[in-house]
Symmetry: C6
Subunit: 267 residues, 6 copies
């Protein structure tokens, strides 16, 4: 009927500011080259869909270790895009929802997106959205199937475009589940690995260069960290803050930092 | 009663134009001999059921890699058939449906088809229709069983004929599930493999013959691509478009194309 | 109450003509000795239960490859029996039914049968009735258990007799499921195997004897077909029809037939 | 309240004549010593519970091959007991019931039994009552647990006694499921094995002693039959009847019998 | 509100006499030293919780073979305790209950117990309460989890004390399920093993000492019985009663006893 | 609407005194250095979140053997924090709840916590909250997923802070389930291991130093105890109390203690 027709025409502008900003409360540090390159690639894709005529759909998956900054990065991209419709689909918004409730909520957001000329949806923590757990393994096949279709579905209307940014800490699982193949592109979000990256992050906090040197040196000697591909930025920032809290000087002290890091890194 | 009787007699003409055309938005390129042969075979089957008196049911399964063009090809056949009843059954139309809801919708379309003298139904992405996932494996047995019966069920009425075109990227799974055997015929949809096929696709876009030569040469040197049976046409077209977007000259540049391809092909 | 009592007494005569005839739309060819013997055995059992006083229940299972003609043969027996109550229980009639819906429909038909002095029920495609699939394996245990009991249950009333004809393409599965043992007798429905059988089938269509000779000779050279026990009659007939359609002469041509057969036989 | 109190006091006399007699429609032949001994043992237990003061509950499991006559024997014992309350709990009475429906019906019968001073309940085909199937395996744990408790539960009232006779063709499964251990006693129902037993059964039908001799001799030469422990009496009787039907002389003819037996025995 | 407050204060006195006495209808024989020691230990724990100030909860698990007398012993302890609140939670009271129905009933009894200053609850046949079966294995996790919490939960109110006595024939299963560890203490209920124990049990019935001698001697020679840890008292008592029933002299006769024992013991 | 808005603003102060104190009814003994260090670490984290500006969420997991004192310690921390909002989420409060009921109750408590400037939630016995059992294994994935999200979810409002203390006896299981990684920090709660620790605990009860010596010496000789990492404090305290109950002198006697310990420790 008429109202429904109206509803379908009405563009659903709207940006999910509160949730997106909340994901960035821990700050956003440009810690070196590897970061810059990743950031540029993402911005590139955003521009491509904005300008392209023949690409109604572009989907990018950000994958990396727990705490490597995937959610913050996706939120950053979403805010920077300045697309008229931007939404974060996060498991945190679905706590206590039934399976069907989650599906309806997700479908609703995509349907809204199809009404805007240019939309961006963040699918955060896909393994958690589908309620995956290794033991079993168990997961919601209904949510998974919904995502498998939505990630590949072009807006029906010829003048609508949609960008999807997914995040996951379980690349290999999503690969097995054919989710990775549904995305056009897959990018790795790295951990803090080199001395210069570590120093770069520390430079955002009060610390004497001497202490910074000691820290980067010691970190680098921890085989565990090098072997496992580095320290996720989230762990790094929390350790700094715990160290600052324990510090009498108000500056990061090398020993306090190392202790915090060990507790936070579950040694 | 009378109304129901009427309902059963009333032919249900109708063609699913919007959905079918949407599947062809990425264009439809005749990229060489292998394509021509496949296309001719399909058109042949369409003519056979149109003209035959003793074949009330003919079913063809199109199988091939992700993005090889199965959906577009099935849509093409459906539109070309000009049968009075043509429908696309696609998982994209069932997002958020319950299992029972999907089954009812599918059964409804087949029931409508049985009322038309000549009908064509596309069962797109059968593994997704049955919500299949390798892990487990899990799938909707209820939907699968419905399809297993519908694919083999002849119209009751002696003067009604039905053609079914299925598509799948998981031939071996559907084989195990006895779906392949339900189809009368199974055809492979190939990827772009030879240099001439690649050049043929590229010829639809702005590109100097020099760049085209470089591209086909380099592509051919990628062992991965040859070994895996070629590049699906969907990936090829998206890579071209991303490359064009990044190009200052407005023409495909060889390096930009190779980079886009690598991102899109998940290297 | 009174009405129910009436209902229980009232004989439920009725023959399922439409469905049974539909199963025979592809014709019924007497292709040789092996066919004749099988046919006679079936007719014998029908006569035995018709005439016997002490056998209230007789059940026969027809098993054979896909398309070997089990459904058509069962329908033929049912129509030939001329019993006052004859019903076909086929998965095609239960598309979209719930598990409980199927069970009720099946039970209802048996209850009706028990009210007729002489009844015949065809349980067609038992693996499909119980929604069996190898992967898992999965099936409806509720429907299976219902069948396991119904196949062995004698009519309560001393002057009622029931014949059950089952069909299946999965003998070994039904054996594991104890269904085969529930039947009193199990008969194999063969495929077309010898040259004379092939020629006999072809003789029902327009074809020069020369072409027939070429076909039977070539067929016999296909190791695959001999090894796999022959060509199911359904595949044979469809191949003939496709070949006729492609023929300019209006007669079966040897090459066209072989090509159709290969497509239909999933080589 | 008062009515309920009344209900609990009111003895529930009643004998399940129709169902029990129906189980014996195939006759009841005393085919030799092994039969006599088994029969005497059963009658003994019936007398023991009838006369004993300290045994409020006695349970006996009859186990043997398909068709060995367990149901008929249990029905015979039940009818011979002449206890005031005698009921047959058979899967045939629960066709189409839900799991909960079956449980309620079973519990109701036991509750009625506890109201009679002397009761006998036949639990026929326990594997079918619990909807057991090897594949999986699957079964109704709710029904199984109900039986596990009911088989061991003494009537609350000191002057009530209950005998339970179970039957099964799957002794080892019921053993694994702890059902066998719930019964106080477990008895094997044998198949027809020796020449004299075979002759004894045949003597109930019209047959020349010459033909009987031929039959017993040939049967005995079938290694299969000896190895598998003999012919179940049900198969033997059906084969005789089919043979009589095919006989022109009105007598069992040796060849006709052997053919029937082969069909019935699934060779 | 006020009524609820009242409800929470109101002590729920009550002893489950009927059910407990019923468990002892087979008598209670003090068959020797091992019995005496076990009995004393149990009585000790009862006294400890009665007198202690700092132990609000004490839980004891009785484990032993089928028929070893666990239920009778638990009932004996419960009756002897003379605690103001004594309840038997037995699967026999939950026949036909739904899972949720059982849980509610169990929770209700514990809630009542928390209102009495001194309570004793028997959790009889825990494997049956949780509907455990080896095949699968299957069990009600919801009931199990309820028990795992209730067995460790202290009464909230500082002046309430609760003793829990559990019984099981499946110690190792309950161990795997962490039930055994929830109990403070675990005691083994033995079978009748030595000659003197056997003689002691027999002495409660009419039997000449000569026959008693013969029996104990023969029993002791049955390797099976010694190896398996003895004869459960329930089997012993039933065998005696069957033997008495078959005896003309009104005394236990050695041969009759051995035969009954063999039948009852499933040889 | 307005009321809901109010509801969201209204701080939900409240401390769960009854439940927390109840967890400490068995006393709280400072038994040595290892205890002191663990205690200090916990208090430190509490102070850090109280004082920090940039850490809106801090989560600590206490893991250790059954009875090692995790619940008591968590309760102690909660009471000592003197945060305006303190809640204990314990399986004991959810007995008889449905899965959805538990989830709602848990979500409600977290939602309340987000309204207070400074909150502390104890997630006690996480394996029991998620209804985990090794056999299967089985657990409530819905509850688990709820916890996996809630443990990492920061309060939305910039001026709210939340501390979460979890407890578990199954560290390795929670690790596999990714629960451990959700916590910022994981601390081990040890058992009583050294002689001085044992003596320290005993010193809280009436016991001659001679008896104490004998006990610590004997305990230390039990290889089992040393090998298994010591005696959980809960077992130690219960054994002492049982020993005191059995003691005539009103003092702990060495033999009585050792016997109680053996019973309580399931030797
Ligand atoms: N360059 C950066 N990129 C990403 N995050 C950053 C950066 N600099 C600082 N941060 C901070 O680091 C934290 C990264 O945590 P975030 O939750 O985004 O990681 P995640 O990879 O999504 O973790 P999880 O696997 O748990 O979902 C955030 O608090 C963010 O504000
Ligand atoms: N000759 C062609 N055949 C098929 N598709 C073509 C052809 N030429 C161009 N295309 C374009 O290539 C794309 C093929 O994508 P399509 O979705 O049909 O592939 P698919 O095999 O169905 O993929 P999927 O496995 O993901 O379902 C479409 O955009 C289509 O317009
Ligand atoms: N002698 C014959 N026996 C059986 N079918 C025949 C015979 N002659 C011709 N036909 C035709 O062959 C076809 C056999 O197909 P039918 O569906 O009965 O096979 P089926 O074994 O039941 O196959 P499915 O395994 O798929 O159920 C029918 O169209 C039938 O009309
Ligand atoms: N002595 C006998 N004992 C048992 N049955 C006999 C005897 N003599 C004749 N019969 C007949 O043999 C048949 C035995 O079949 P019955 O259904 O009782 O076997 P069953 O062991 O219960 O089979 P199933 O395993 O299929 O339940 C009945 O028809 C019965 O009338
Ligand atoms: N000293 C005894 N201890 C226990 N039971 C005894 C004793 N003396 C006689 N009995 C009798 O022995 C029987 C023991 O059976 P009971 O049902 O208690 O065993 P159970 O171990 O609980 O068996 P199940 O494993 O089947 O639950 C009862 O009838 C009881 O009256
Ligand atoms: N220093 C201590 N730390 C912890 N508990 C103590 C201490 N001193 C005494 N206790 C007492 O020891 C008991 C510890 O039991 P608690 O239930 O806390 O252990 P738990 O590790 O949570 O056990 P479970 O694994 O069964 O949950 C309590 O009764 C507590 O009062
Ligand atoms: Mg994240
Ligand atoms: Mg497709
Ligand atoms: Mg068929
Ligand atoms: Mg039977
Ligand atoms: Mg018991
Ligand atoms: Mg605890």
């Amino acid at each position: 009927d008429f109202l429904q027709a109206l509803d379908e025409i009405k563009p659903a502008f709207g940006i999910d500011n509160t949730n997106l900003s909340n994901s960035l409360r821990g700050g956003f540090y440009q810690y070196g080259e590897r970061f810059d390159e990743l950031y540029k690639t993402g911005i590139n894709f955003i521009n491509e869909i904005r300008n392209s005529k023949n690409t109604p759909l572009l989907s990018v998956l950000l994958e990396g270790k727990n705490g490597s900054g995937k959610t913050a990065l996706a939120a950053k991209f979403a805010l920077e895009s300045r697309f008229p419709f931007v939404k974060l689909i996060s498991p945190e918004n679905f706590v206590g929802y039934s399976e069907q409730g989650k599906i309806s909520a997700i479908v609703k957001i995509f349907d809204d997106a199809y009404k805007s000329p240019l939309s961006l949806i963040v699918l955060d923590d896909i393994e958690r959205l589908i309620e995956f757990i290794h033991i079993g393994p168990r997961f919601s096949n209904a949510i998974l199937q919904t995502l498998l279709v939505l990630i590949k579905k072009k807006p029906n209307n010829a003048d609508r475009k949609l960008m999807i940014i997914g995040t996951t800490s379980m690349r290999s699982i999503l690969q097995e589940m054919e989710v990775v193949d549904c995305f056009n592109v897959c990018l790795n979000v790295p951990s803090i690995r080199s001395k210069s990256e570590m120093a770069s992050v520390l430079s955002n906090f009060k610390a004497s260069s001497q202490e910074v040197n000691k820290i980067t040196k010691e970190l680098f000697e921890l085989e565990d960290i090098v072997a496992s591909g580095g320290i996720p930025i989230k762990n790094m920032v929390l350790s700094i803050e715990l160290a600052l809290q324990n510090s009498s000087s108000g500056q990061i002290e090398h020993q306090a930092f190392m202790e915090s890091l060990k507790a936070v890194h579950h040694y």
